[in-house]
Amino acid sequence: MSDNFIWSVVIGMALANFLVRFIPIAIVSRVELPRPVMRWLSFVPASVMGSLVAAEVFRPGGSWINPVSSPYGWAALLTGLVYWRSRSFLGATLAGMLGFVALRAWLG
């Protein structure tokens, strides 16, 4: 793979990823949004996280797994419980990773 190709990927990705983030902010922060739109936007964060968790727990790496016999589902449950009790992102993330390693050794 040529050096030029890789550099054009790097520069292209920088632009693409910046524009997809900046354009909505630049536009939406300059207009007053109607209440129904604000209402809709208030549901977006929980919806995005719900779909990301579903993808990560049931289809890690893009293929279906059985959540009962895989470490992903149980480690996700553990992470959720730790966050619920502690309200600490750091503690929950670390507990989840440790739990995942232990469960993987156990469940195979």
């Binding site: 793979m1 520069i11 549901f43 579903a54 992102f89």
Partner: protein
């Protein structure tokens, strides 16, 4: 929603106050830093394996800051595709940032365009969720968001550097449980963001749609996987808006 709101960002504040808000952001972003380090290292290892130099891998992480968008780019490159396919893949995977940007932009109204651009550059799943959560408890400001962005960026780029420079020495990153760092953060953020019954229902609907879309492939309907997250999020938020009419404006 009966929670007290922060003072607007536009009020004049002193340097000490700015510094305190920035440091608060750094602290809030610490779990993101720790989560990004190993995943960034995984990106560095994979990228150098594909022919990226250490400089190129780090430049990519430093400028794109795109997590899943960077991994999908590597897999498209590995498949032998050209630059446009790479850019299309990274853009589609990161289309959810359009939703994030639109959601967070009402809070960025008081900021100048260059400052908005800077915060847009730092926008990721995790920084978004932390800032939105912080905003809901009434404490987030432009400076704290900047702190969250900086510490996350440092984690992602330094992780990439370690992975790219020490790929052969680190070996298989999965033995450290790094593949669960991102899912663990998503789970914690989901619980933080699903703050009332209506949000929980929206999240459950999103989960169901996100699983129904790939399941549709089993009956012969093929939807590109890059669209699953965007379609599930848009669908669930739309149904939730229709189900729960506007009583208390968010």
């Amino acid at each position: 929603m009966l929670r007290f709101r922060a003072m607007p960002n536009t009020l004049p504040i002193g340097n000490a106050e700015r510094g305190a808000r920035f440091v608060r952001g750094l602290k809030l972003g610490l779990p993101v830093f720790l989560g990004y380090m190993p995943v960034g290292a995984a990106f560095g290892i994979l990228a150098t394996g594909l022919g990226f130099s250490t400089l190129q891998a780090c430049a990519c992480s430093a400028t794109a800051l795109a997590g899943a968008g960077q991994f999908i780019a590597l897999s498209v490159i590995r498949a032998g595709e050209g630059i446009f396919a790479v850019l299309a893949a990274t853009t589609v995977v990161n289309l959810r940032y359009v939703l994030f940007g639109a959601t967070i932009s009402p809070y960025l109204r008081g900021l100048t365009l260059p400052r908005q651009a800077l915060l847009a550059y730092f926008l990721t799943d995790e920084t978004f969720a932390i800032n939105i959560n912080d905003r809901r408890v009434g404490l987030s400001t432009g400076w704290s968001m900047f702190g969250v962005g900086v510490i996350s960026w440092v984690g992602w780029v330094s992780g990439t550097l370690v992975g790219a420079a020490a790929a052969s020495w680190i070996g298989d990153p999965s033995r450290w449980g790094v593949e669960f760092a991102m899912p663990a953060m998503f789970v914690a953020l989901l619980i933080a963001l699903a703050e009332n019954r209506q949000h929980v229902i929206a999240a459950c609907m999103a989960t169901a749609i996100a699983l129904a879309l790939p399941a549709a492939a089993l009956i012969g309907m093929h939807i590109p996987s890059a669209w699953f997250i965007v379609m599930a999020s848009v669908g669930a938020a739309t149904v939730a808006t229709l189900l729960f009419p506007d009583r208390s404006v968010a």
